[in-house]
């Protein structure tokens, strides 16, 4: 079944001085053996990630499976702290390839994302050229001929020596393949998004000064978004799209167990139940998974073995960030705690 693996084909990295050139099509070979086994099934991925302490639901594992097999970028959306960034980290660790992260922000442009031209260095060279200009032009007669000779030197200005690679170029040129994480793409602006489109569809980029750079090994690409703005249709069309919601109680318990192994079982069940109840409320900011983890750690430090109203009240600010939210939850404190204790009893 050659279809799905086609995407993993490799291509030579070409850098040709001067104008962009069109290159021969990439060589087609299958997905590397080392990934092949690790990506052999959805269950295999779930188990493998769990060993790295990343607990993924079936939809998430399916997303990794499909995206890696088809070689399609994966756009991950969902509320803050549900583990979007960590998913990319875990994937890089799992596949044993380096992680290249590009944090997006407003005003991020190609020079920060792709490569930067080292003007200072170039200036230095220019100075040298100036000193040597007499030698260069010594045998030239007249202005036209001088210009002609100077022209030949213009190539100096476009050589790779002045090129400082940034994440995107690094990911395209990574010898061993890479996980490329384009984090919080929603913080970048529309123009940058449009620019990404080219890379995401071709995995190659033309650098006017150098030529066309084509991925030697297609990187596994993750994009994350907190949905502060809607991504363009064009971008979404090129990506597979995974929405990661807050985990359900069962999954969250497993995450807590993975991240805070020392936690007593009953405390784990209770605190997860409490947080799940809090998420039902209409709050300014809902507690995320990372905050549940923080809370678990704090409770552990306090040697709590189960929840009671006092210890919850003292630690509300660990997982709630706004005064109003703390106040609102405080109103429900006894009820929620009782419910959490019962949840534990149910499990036991």
């Amino acid at each position: 079944m050659p279809g799905p693996l086609r995407a993993q084909s490799l291509a030579r990295l070409h850098r040709v001085p001067g104008a962009p050139v069109h290159l021969s099509p990439p060589t087609e070979i299958g997905m590397e053996a080392k990934y092949q086994e690790r990506l052999s099934s959805i269950e295999r991925i779930q188990e493998g990630f769990a060993e790295l302490n990343y607990i993924c639901s079936r939809p998430i594992a399916t997303a990794i499976y499909v995206s890696c097999h088809l070689g399609k970028p994966l756009l991950v959306e969902g509320p803050a702290g549900v583990g979007k960034t960590e998913l990319a980290n875990a994937t890089s660790e799992y596949l044993g390839v380096p992680m290249i992260r590009m944090q997006c922000y407003e005003g991020l442009d190609e020079s920060k994302a792709l490569y930067e031209w080292k003007y200072a260095k170039q200036l230095l060279y220019t100075q040298i050229l100036k000193d040597k200009i007499g030698d260069v032009l010594s045998d030239a007669h007249g202005l036209a001929e001088s210009m002609e000779q100077l022209h030949r030197f213009s190539d100096i200005f476009f050589s790779e020596q002045f090129l400082e690679p940034r994440p995107l170029l690094k990911a395209l040129t990574a010898e061993e393949g890479a996980v490329l994480l384009i984090d919080e793409i929603d913080k970048s602006d529309h123009e940058f998004e449009a620019f990404l489109l080219e890379i995401l569809s071709e995995f190659q980029i033309s650098i006017p000064e150098i030529g066309t750079v084509k991925a030697k090994k297609r990187p596994f690409v993750f994009l994350t978004s907190n949905n502060t703005r809607e991504m363009s249709d064009a971008l979404k069309r090129r990506c597979l799209h995974l929405f990661v919601p807050f985990p359900d109680a069962k999954l969250e318990q497993r995450i807590i167990k993975a991240r805070v192994p020392a936690i007593p079982d009953s405390l784990k069940v209770q605190l997860v139940d409490f947080v799940q109840q809090v998420r039902e409320m209409d709050l300014k900011k809902q507690p995320s998974v990372s905050e549940t983890i923080d809370w678990a750690r704090v409770l552990l430090l306090l040697h709590a073995t189960s929840l009671d109203a006092d210890v919850v009240r003292e630690t509300l600010n660990v997982f709630l960030k706004f005064e109003e939210d703390i106040h609102a939850v405080d109103q429900q404190l006894y009820e929620f705690t009782r419910h959490a204790q019962k949840a534990d009893a149910r499990v036991a």
Partner: protein, 447 residues
């Protein structure tokens, strides 16, 4: 399976999930990768490729569940329901009786799928067709055999009565199943047809006579088109300042710094953002078109250098500021307050423009005039339009009336036309999209 799959995509589109060609291909590759053996995994996987907002995910899930409810996913990996479709017609009728009596839902579902394919149930569009398709499917499944068995049982007298009763019961069970199935197909395909047709209809319908509900939908469509145009054109713009150094210019520019090439001058492909002045007639039915033209232009502000808008009927005012701090709806209302509902006077309005704004028109300005050119038999002042034409880069006239009406009655369109670079009929969203697309295209070609 390919047909079932295509129908599923059609149903999704119908439920307003946008599915592009690229996504269709992705979905097919995904299905091929996953196989048909694990229904749940397939659902998650296809959802990655086909549904790209939380809303779409929800619709996707519902549609998937509804659509594949009758398909058996219990087969071995890779085996598609279609693999079971090659049965002999004769055996089928016999089986049918058997299946119905055993209430074998999986087998029935398969038989029903196959019969549905035979009668092209995906063509169902209207609820009035329910009976028709139900009968056709029952026919294709071989209901006659059951009917024959019932008759035979009845004929056999006393002893057959019990059996006939049982058979009748089985028949009505089958009938219900098929009717539900057709019902479900109607809700998938029928809805599908309507949503697709609706957008298509809206894009082609006259902006002058939309009802309120359509207005809302129109705004969404305009936004969508605008976003596409932005995505299409902004990448090209970025190509500026990149490329090869222009030695000649660099030398000239750095003449002052003692020969050190301090400021590099690139050989650049200059792309001018067009400066746009839009002059809109807001009388009568033209106002509706003006509204959408202006929404369009302001959605595209990223791509345009500077947009100024003017509205007129009896006189002309500048309306640029209206759009800077108001929603399009409010802006239009405010504009109508100031200049709406007066007898139209093109001559007067043009001379207002000349007095206050003609100086701002330069060789980079594209002037768009939107109007029917009906000036109540007043002096059209074509001389002013000529002046505008001479100073500007382009004059584009958009007329909501169809060409045969130009120049009839009080329409001065034919007299204005010689001073325009382009005159177009414009009264639908499709017209507008074309005009705006041209505007951006011309700007980029002018490099």
């Amino acid at each position: 399976m390919e047909r079932t799959f295509t129908n599923f995509l059609q149903a999704l589109r119908g439920a307003e999930v946008r599915v592009s060609v690229a996504e269709t291909l992705d979905a097919m590759e995904t299905a091929e990768l996953m196989g048909w053996g694990d229904r749940e995994a397939l659902k998650y996987a296809l959802s990655l490729a086909l549904a790209k907002t939380p809303d779409e995910k929800e619709i996707f899930d519902a549609t998937f569940d509804q659509f594949f409810r009758f398909d058996s996913f219990r087969g071995r990996d890779g085996e598609t329901p279609e693999a079971n479709s090659g049965e002999e017609l004769e055996g089928k009728a016999g089986d049918l009786l058997d299946m119905v009596q055993r209430r074998d839902e999986t087998a029935l579902a398969l038989a029903m799928q196959q019969a549905a394919r035979e009668v092209n149930v995906e063509n169902i569009r209207f609820f009035t067709q329910r009976g028709l398709f139900t009968q056709r499917i029952l026919g294709a499944m071989g209901i006659e055999a059951i009917d024959a068995a019932i008759s035979a049982a009845v004929r056999s007298g006393e002893g057959g009565a019990g059996q006939a009763g049982q058979l009748r019961e089985a028949r009505s069970y089958l009938f219900e199943q098929v009717r539900d199935f057709v019902e479900q197909q109607l809700s998938l395909q029928g809805a599908g047809a309507s949503a697709e047709l609706r957008e298509d209809r809206l894009r082609r319908s006259r902006l002058g006579n939309l009802d309120r509900r359509d207005q809302e939908q129109m705004k969404v469509i305009v936004e969508k088109i605008a976003r596409r145009l932005v995505a299409l054109h902004s990448r090209r713009k970025k190509l500026r300042n990149r490329g090869v150094i222009d030695i000649r210019k660099t030398m000239r520019r750095n003449y002052g710094s003692g020969g050190i090439l301090f400021d590099l001058e690139w050989k650049q492909r200059k792309i001018d953002k067009p400066r746009v002045m839009a002059i809109c007639d807001v009388s009568g039915s033209v106002a509706a078109v003006a509204r959408f033209l202006l929404q369009f232009l302001y959605e595209l502000h990223e791509l345009l250098h500077d947009i100024r808008s003017f509205a007129f009927s009896g006189k002309l005012i500048e309306t640029s500021s209206f759009f800077k701090d108001k929603q399009a709806d409010d802006a239009v209302a405010a504009i109508m307050d100031r200049v709406g509902f007066m007898p139209t006077d093109y001559g007067e309005s043009l001379s207002n423009f000349r007095e206050k704004f003609l100086n701002d028109v330069d060789k980079k300005t594209a002037v768009i005039i939107l109007g029917d050119g009906r000036s109540n038999f007043t002096d059209p002042r074509t001389d002013i339009l000529k002046e505008i034409h001479d100073r500007s880069k382009r004059v584009i006239w958009l007329n909501p009336e169809p060409p045969p009406l130009w120049g009839t009655g009080d329409s001065e369109m034919r007299r204005y036309a010689p001073y325009c670079d382009l005159v177009r009929e414009c009264n639908t969203l499709n017209h507008l999209e074309r005009v705006v697309g041209d505007l951006l295209q011309v700007a980029q070609k002018a490099a």
